[in-house]
Symmetry: C2
Subunit: 254 residues, 2 copies
C-alpha cells in the first residue's frame, strides 16, 4: 500500500495511491484504520504534502562507507542518531529554494526513510523490524559553506524547503534490497545500493530506543552514499526502486 498526505482544497488529508489515483481517506492510517471516502484525484494533479509530519525527525549522518571515505571522515563505531527540523519539510514536486547568500556546494543526498508505526522503548531487533509502518524517500539538501561556518546545522540543513520527503509511504517493500538513483534534469548523477549501510535502520532503532521512546509518525532518515550538486533552474529526482520517485525543482530565492 502507498499512503500520501495531500492538499485537498486547502485541507491536509491522507490518501491511498493506486492505479494512478489518490483515493482520499477518512483518517490517518498511522493512528488507526482509515477508509476510502470515495473522493479521488488523479496523481498527476495531486498537490503532495510531506507524507507525515513527525513528532521527532531523526537523521543519520555518515552511514555509507564510500561517503565516509569521500570526506576522509572516521567511520562511526555506533549507530547514533542526529536530528532535522520540521520547518524544512516540503512535498513531492514542491520547489527547493536556494536562499539568497548561498555560495559554494549546494547538494542533494538521496535517502531512504523509515516511518515508525508503533510506540517502542528498549526494542529487540525483531520488535524494531515490526515497528516499521513503511518507507519513503528523503532529500537531505545541504548548503556546505554554512555547514562548515556554523556551530550547528540550523541553516545549512534546516532552512525552509531543504528537506523534501515523499511522494508516499510504501508499506510493502524491503528497502535494503533496493537501488537509489539520483538524477538532475534526467541525467543520472549517483546510483548506489540502498542497503549498503554501515548500520541498518533496525540497528538504529534498537540503539536509540535504549534511552528514547519512538512513536508512530517519527521518521528516521538513513543517510546517503553520494552528494549531488544542485543548481537553480534544474530538477532533482531521487528514485528508490520499489518505493517511487521524489522530484523537486530547484529555484533561487527572489
Amino acid at each position: 500500500m502507498r499512503y500520501s498526505r495531500i492538499n485537498l482544497h486547502g485541507r491536509a488529508v491522507f490518501a491511498e495511491i493506486a492505479d494512478g489515483l489518490a483515493h482520499v481517506l477518512d483518517g490517518d492510517p498511522l493512528s488507526g484504520p482509515a477508509h476510502r471516502t470515495g473522493s479521488r484525484v488523479p496523481t498527476a494533479s495531486v498537490d503532495f504534502l510531506p507524507p507525515v509530519v513527525p513528532g521527532v525527525f531523526y537523521a543519520v549522518g555518515y552511514n555509507y562507507r564510500s561517503h565516509v571515505e569521500h570526506y576522509g571522515a572516521r567511520a562511526p563505531e555506533r549507530p547514533e542518531v542526529g536530528y532535522r527540523a520540521n520547518n524544512a519539510l516540503t512535498g513531492h514536486r514542491s520547489p527547493i529554494v536556494r536562499p539568497a547568500g548561498v555560495t559554494g556546494r549546494f547538494e542533494a543526498e538521496g535517502e531512504v526513510v523509515a516511518v515508525i508505526g508503533r510506540t517502542l522503548k528498549k526494542a529487540s531487533r525483531n520488535e524494531a523490524q515490526e515497528s516499521i509502518f513503511g518507507w519513503t524517500i528523503g532529500n537531505d539538501v545541504s548548503a556546505r559553506e554554512w555547514q562548515h561556518a556554523d556551530r550547528t546545522f540550523w541553516r545549512s540543513k534546516n532552512s525552509d524547503t531543504f528537506k523534501p520527503m515523499g511522494p508516499w509511504i510504501e508499506t510493502g517493500v524491503d528497502p535494503l534490497a533496493q537501488t537509489t538513483t539520483v538524477r538532475v534534469d534526467g541525467t543520472v548523477k549517483a546510483r548506489f545500493a540502498t542497503g549498503d549501510m554501515i548500520f541498518d535502520p533496525f540497528d538504529f532503532i534498537v540503539e536509540t530506543s535504549k534511552y528514547i521512546t519512538l512513536r508512530p509518525g517519527d521518521v528516521l532518515w538513513m543517510g546517503a552514499d553520494s552528494n549531488v550538486q544542485l543548481e537553480p533552474g534544474r530538477t532533482v529526482e531521487i528514485e528508490i526502486s520499489g518505493i517511487g520517485t521524489l522530484s523537486n525543482p530547484v529555484l533561487e530565492e527572489k
Copy 2:
C-alpha cells in the same frame, strides 16, 4: 494569563490557571480563542503536561557569559539555534529518570523558554517581539559523559524525561527583567539574572527567521548561566520570578 496543558481523565486539555485552580478550556489558546468550559481542578492535584508540544524544539547553547567562561569556551559571535527532541519533554512534577549506565555529571540547567504565537519569516525585531505568545520554564538536563563521548546530543540531552517544561505559559511578563533560581531539595544552588544573555530571544528569532519559518507552538529554550548536579532521590526546582516554579523529582531507572 497562565495557560497549561493537563491530563484530564486520560485526555490532554488546555487550562487557564487562576486562583489556585486549573479552569479547563474548550480549545488550544495557541491556535485561536479558547473559553472556560466550567470544569476546574485544584492546581495542587493537577497532572501537568508540557504546556505545548512544539513543531520545532529550538534550544540555545552557550548564551550566558559566565557559562561560556566556566567551560573555557569561545563566546558565540552570532545567535545560532540548536535543537532538542520532543520525546524528552515531560511535565511539572513528573520525574526526571536517570538512565541506568549514567555516571559522572548529571546536571540541570534552568532556562526561560519563548513560546512562539505567530507564523513569521524574515522578522524585524519588532515583529519578533510581537510574535511571542508567552514564556515558560525549561530544565535542560544533560548527562555530561555521554555528551562528551557521543557524536550528537541524542542520549546526553534527549533521553526520555530529560526536558521538563512548564508548569504553564505566562503571557504577561518581561522575562529579561526576572531572576532564575535553581534549588535542590529547597537549597539554592544557582541564581542569576534571567536577562543577562549574550543574545536575547528576539536576536535569535530575527536571525533564525532569515531562513526558517517559525510557527505557533514552536519553542525556543534560551540557555542557562549555571549547571547544577542532580542525584536520584532529590527534587530540582527552577523558579523564574514572574513566571512560576518548575519542580521535578529525580529517580534512578529501575
